[in-house]
Symmetry: C2
Subunit: 509 residues, 2 copies
């Protein structure tokens, strides 16, 4: 039997699975579009009806995913799958999703979807009013549901919290993350300490001033377009917090927010979300609506956003090209020079807000959430305890305290949507992005010279080929190793952090 006929057979064995999967995938996409709509468009009174609708879609998706038809199709496909082929990966990913879903009753899947919609609404209200009590009851309900889900998924070595991590980063565990966060803290804490002790403060005035919203939108959009984001297959909307949702490579939505007195949150937020968006737009068209058509993991997803935000967007070479464009969009900032601006893009300074934190302190924000989430799923913390627990850890890790819960425990959307176990993927993204960038530089040569000419297509092409085009064909671990030639480590990321501390603050650790 030759290879072609084996592939033919494998495809035939796979067909029923793929037919069923396309519907499951569509139902998930419909939920995502409705969630985007809730975030950006839905009127304030629409939450209750939307919650019921999301519960129905989640219930039907679950029903289709764990149906006996799906189980039979999956078994048949498994028999024909040849190791190392895309078909094998299809079956692997379908099996993973099926096994997870089969442990969860449909009623719980529905309840989680409805709770996510409703507690998102109360989180928005609580944050606006800076009043945790408006959110506490819904958060407690959500934690209860997630504990139930995690309990059903835990088995053997897999802890309940591991089961939640696995949803976003397949195979990730507390046991792997605990030493990683310890390593990061060991290196980053002395850098932060050294910066604080060195007495040098960065002049951030070049990044501050009067930046009208319309000009920030136009500038941010033009930068997203310059790095390759296709606005005929995407859009950019104002929203209370920045995010990216991809419904197909041809329909990818970014959101942004702004500070009228500082251009950095909007610009780097847009570059970040556009980095996510480039990944979504680069996913393999032929595998859409199949188990391997989406992103492999959130860690890899986050590596794409951070690479464009930080390693491209904050580089001197990028600004050699971007600065005249910046001046054209913001005539009031026409006196800002490259040398004056660059340090303001590389501050290292403990702060309150994760999404605006610098790269030196960002992972300490994540470490705080990791500790809190572990405690919640070990049964050591309840919703009502979170404001105090939050403040205590911010004091210990970063030496800061939020003046209000709005900038404290209510700052992130994730818990309101049931996104426990999601935060650590941000840190994995930092590690992966640094390692990918090293490999891209080795493959492509002088990236800086390209950036300085506004040429981002070679880098995007390399990412398309080595990351985006594979969808979920390989596991995240395999993908990183294939793309970079070595297993994932924190080395490149920490070296970059140390180099920045040295060059900007003169601090060596």
């Amino acid at each position: 039997m030759n290879d072609t006929s084996r592939t033919g057979e494998a495809n035939q064995a796979l067909a029923p699975l793929l037919r069923l999967w396309a519907e499951v995938d569509d139902l998930g996409k419909a939920s995502s579009i409705l969630a985007w709509d809730q975030e950006t468009q839905m009127p304030s009174k629409g939450g209750a009806a939307r919650g019921k609708l999301q519960a129905t879609l989640a219930g039907l998706r679950h029903e289709k995913l764990v149906s006996s038809e799906m189980e039979d199709a999956l078994r048949a496909a498994e028999e024909g799958a040849v190791d190392g082929t895309p078909e094998h990966a299809q079956v692997r990913e379908a099996r993973r999703a099926f096994d997870r879903a089969a442990r969860i009753p449909g009623e719980l899947a529905r309840a989680l979807a409805e709770a996510a919609t409703l507690s998102h609404e109360s989180w928005v209200a609580a944050r606006k009013a800076a009043d945790f009590s408006l959110f506490e009851r819904d958060l407690a309900h959500m934690i209860g549901l997630k504990r139930e889900e995690a309990g059903l998924l835990a088995r053997g070595d897999i802890t309940p919290y591991d089961a939640l991590l696995d949803q976003w980063e397949p195979g990730m565990t507390e046991a792997k993350l605990v030493p990683l966060f310890a390593e990061l803290r060991d290196v980053l804490a002395p850098i932060v300490h050294g910066v604080r002790e060195c007495g040098r403060t960065i002049d951030e005035s070049p990044a501050r001033g009067d930046f009208p919203a319309a000009a920030q939108y136009a500038f941010g959009r033009s930068m997203a377009e310059a790095i390759g984001f296709d606005f005929d297959a995407g859009r950019l909307d104002l929203a209370p917090h920045p995010f990216c949702s991809g419904f197909a490579p041809s329909d990818v939505r970014l959101t942004w927010r702004f500070d009228a007195g500082d251009f950095r949150p909007a610009l780097f937020g847009i570059l970040h979300e556009a980095g996510h968006g480039l990944y979504e737009q680069g996913l393999p068209g032929a595998w859409q609506r199949t188990p391997i058509g989406g992103a492999v993991s959130l860690g890899v997803h986050e590596s794409q956003s951070r690479l464009w935000e930080n390693l491209v967007g904050r580089s001197r070479a990028f600004w050699e090209w971007a600065l005249p464009r910046f001046h054209a969009h913001f005539p009031g900032a026409s006196g800002v020079t490259l040398d004056a601006l660059l340090p303001a893009l590389h501050t290292i300074q403990p702060s309150l807000i994760r999404v605006e934190a610098d790269q030196g302190t960002y992972d300490l924000h994540i470490a705080i959430r990791f500790e809190l989430e572990r405690a919640i799923f070990a049964g050591e913390l309840e919703a009502r305890d979170l404001p105090d627990a939050w403040d205590a850890r911010y004091g210990a890790f970063l030496g800061v305290r939020a003046p209000s819960v709005a900038d404290g425990v209510l700052q992130d959307i994730h818990w309101s949507m049931g996104g426990f176990g999601y935060f650590p993927t941000y840190t994995l993204g930092n590690l992966i992005n640094a390692q990918l960038f090293t490999a891209a530089r080795a493959a492509l040569g002088d990236l800086d010279a390209m950036f300085a000419r506004g040429e981002f297509a070679p880098l995007l092409g390399w990412l398309r080929e080595n990351v985006h085009a594979h969808g979920a064909r390989y596991t995240a671990t395999e993908l990183v190793e294939r793309a970079t030639g070595r297993p994932l480590s924190a080395a490149d990321f920490l070296a970059d952090r140390a180099a920045t501390a040295a060059s900007v603050y003169g601090v060596t650790t």
Copy 2:
């Protein structure tokens, strides 16, 4: 057995039906939200993926609607339903939807949903380019699918086109509409002729000038708010054509468009859509996600939009209150007086664009579409014939000819979405709105005095009580008769048209 226990039993017999129905309803709502998104938000390349997604949702909805579980629940509910109760109406509406769907194969339901999404995209492109050939193939495909659907639904006296009419206006038939359109043409054509012959032209300059988009939005929105539209349960977005989509009484979306040189299209478009929106926001909360929770028919829906647009929004009394507000929003029009403006709101003049046509000629636009659609479903017209057939009828009915297909056969969205049989409901809306308004005036007294004080709540309250709150509990015929005390006729509408021709043009017929 007393009445309470009978109701209790009926409710119990109904419970399984309602549980299944809620999911069917949710899937329909999800499709509507995605259609709204396609119209107002989706990037241009998103159509193909959206088409597949809509096909999946339509297929699942169909599957759930015609399931044996649903059939059993429906039979059980039918046994317990007591004539005249809301429960009886629930069963009637569920049976109607079930019987329709059961004649349609799931594959056809999916194909129709996908075709609607795709041919909508090609219609947008064709209209933009004023090139019918870009749309012809998709329209021919859509006509083929609708003929197939209509053929499956036709039986006995019910013609294929009747089956399509019934989807929008339950029970409506060609046999009822042919004499109605003849009656309308008999009365309206002489009015239009008389106006043309009388030699008087209306000075429309008070409605023309420089009306910036932002001011038109602010004014239109404030007027929608004034008549009672709740913006915490709704929104208003710019779109290529005005429409209203209700996903729940708490989430109703209006769209608008504008002419920067004439305030009328935007204002009356917004009042029209807000009229639809008031109906959606007034639907019975307790019956949401049940067979009688929605609007009873599109004719009744259209009566609500036309009542607020025309009978309220174009009245002298309304403008006594609105004119100072108009001046405040448009300082450039501060010289416009009530007496100068009013005639410009009541012109009678053959024109090209249906949605902007006056009330004297509007129903002739509908009569054209009614004739064309009948011919299509009698197999006498194909997609390729439509541009010429369109022009011929516009010549015969209105004496005008579109300079381009964009303002001719491509002007309406309906056919691209498969909405054949929909247009006649606009004319029914005209009849119903006039008859309802007469009844409201009889019940409430001096409506003009209220409008002149900006008091619209009494009229809205009457409509809420007599129309909105009933959802689909009664048939449209029953509802109109209950609300007005007599069967629907064209009398009030035609009397209003004749009175306007007399007062504005001095024409009596």
